[in-house]
């Protein structure tokens, strides 16, 4: 019910039915290769594939509207800054210069446009898979997936605890902030810089000191239930691999191999249409 800050939505498509482990592996492998490769053809391919997956998992536009808008704004801003700071970066990367418009420092080249297109695609390519991952993976399953891909169970459980306590800490923060304002702190924009820093510390102090107590109490409660006793532990929410899970992992490996193959024919990370 409440563990929904990341937007998990219960549904029954084949994407939802995959185990968290295979989705996590898919996500990690594909985002690594998409981060390394600068080949526009490969990246477009991956983007199309991930859009198909997004479509298949029946996620509604209303669920992702806000985050997608934010990402688009962020991407545009970044593209503009890159242009302002380095209008010649494309030409430098690809080693040629096809000028479209003479504008002095801001001279526009085909190479720059192409480079920024690549950048834009790279900002966006992992977004659909991330959204799919966030919305179709039950957070309860996430830590067992981490454990299954080789992260130690202690660390995996730490992540699970983080997910468990984010809503709690958020509620605490709001309430503490109110309580401090009731005592007479001015935290709104009217205060000066140092006053605001002090004001914020005034909320952080109780939040953090009480969290230190919490750390103590929770670790006691966990030890009382034998966390850390054995070398391994089992997971209540873990699920068995199905055929689709294996297929997903195979697909991820194929994508990685494809990316590597593209790099081989490009002779590096960049695909250069100007040569």
């Amino acid at each position: 019910m409440d563990n929904n800050i990341f937007g998990y939505d219960h549904n029954n498509t084949w994407v939802h039915q995959l185990t968290g482990t295979s989705k996590l592996l898919f996500f990690i492998l594909v985002s690594i290769i998409a981060m390394i490769s600068y080949d526009v053809r490969f990246i477009t391919l991956v983007l199309i594939l991930s859009l198909i997956i997004l479509y298949q998992s029946q996620i509604k536009w209303s669920q992702v509207r806000l985050i997608v808008k934010l990402i688009l704004i962020f991407a545009c801003l970044n593209l503009i800054t890159v242009y302002i700071f380095s209008p010649g970066h494309g030409a430098y990367l690809y080693g040629t210069q096809h000028i479209i418009l003479h504008l002095g420092y801001f001279t526009l080249t085909k190479e720059q446009l192409f480079y920024e297109l690549n950048l834009a695609l790279k900002y966006l390519v992992t977004v659909p898979i991330s959204l799919v991952f966030l919305i179709t993976t039950n957070p309860s399953e996430f830590s067992s997936s981490l454990n299954h891909i080789g992260v130690s169970y202690r660390l995996s459980y730490a992540v699970s605890l983080a997910l468990r306590y984010i809503p709690d800490v958020q509620r605490d923060y709001q309430e503490i902030s109110m309580a401090q304002q009731a005592r007479g702190y001015e935290l709104s924009k009217k205060g000066k810089f140092m006053t605001r820093i002090k004001g914020v510390s005034q909320i952080l102090i109780p939040l953090i000191l009480s969290s230190l107590d919490k750390i103590q109490v929770i670790s006691q409660a966990m030890e009382l239930r034998r966390f850390g006793k054995n070398k391994k532990r089992t997971w209540y929410m873990a699920r068995k691999f199905s055929r689709n899970d294996y297929l997903t992992i195979v697909l991820a490996i194929l994508i990685v191999l494809l990316g590597v193959w593209f790099m081989k024919i490009d002779g590096g990370r960049f695909f250069n249409p100007f040569k």
Binding site: I71, K122, S152, A158, A162, V200, L204
Partner: protein
Amino acid sequence: MNKKKLSVQSVVAIGIGTAILFLLKRWVSIPTGIPNTNIDTSYGFLGFIAVLFGPVVGFFVGFFGHALSDFTQFGAPWWTWVFTTGLVGFALGFLKKYMKPEEGRFGKKKLIIYNIYQVIINVIGWLLIAPTGDVLIYSEPANKVYLQGIVSAISNSLSTGIIGTILLVVYASSKVKKGSLKKE
């Protein structure tokens, strides 16, 4: 990385620490007055938790907290910066040995060392590692990322410095000294 097992307390510290860092990063920043530059309060907290619990906790709190926050905001973590946050936490964690938080007392000298060290770490992290990573891995233009690096180095050391110091001082004074409590 985990040759020595994490203690249960460290596990919980990573969990709760990540939750706090995540929230601070997402919701609590202080406008500096310069447009579009905010002080990211989470670095103050990172310094504090790293000094208290050591490098391993420092690393994972920074890494997980930053990754989760990027994930939910931008759909994908900006790995170079996420990793740098982890490294900063890791490096600051080495102060635990020197600061000895369990003794519950930070004199002037310790706080000065903390601040000098944290500025050095932040500069190495944000001026060197993060932008270089961006150039190498994301092939972003150097002048853009180094400028971003300078701004981050300054604002993050301010946060680690001011907020971290306040937290440390308050923490130390809330610690009860051994055998000291008496009703009067």
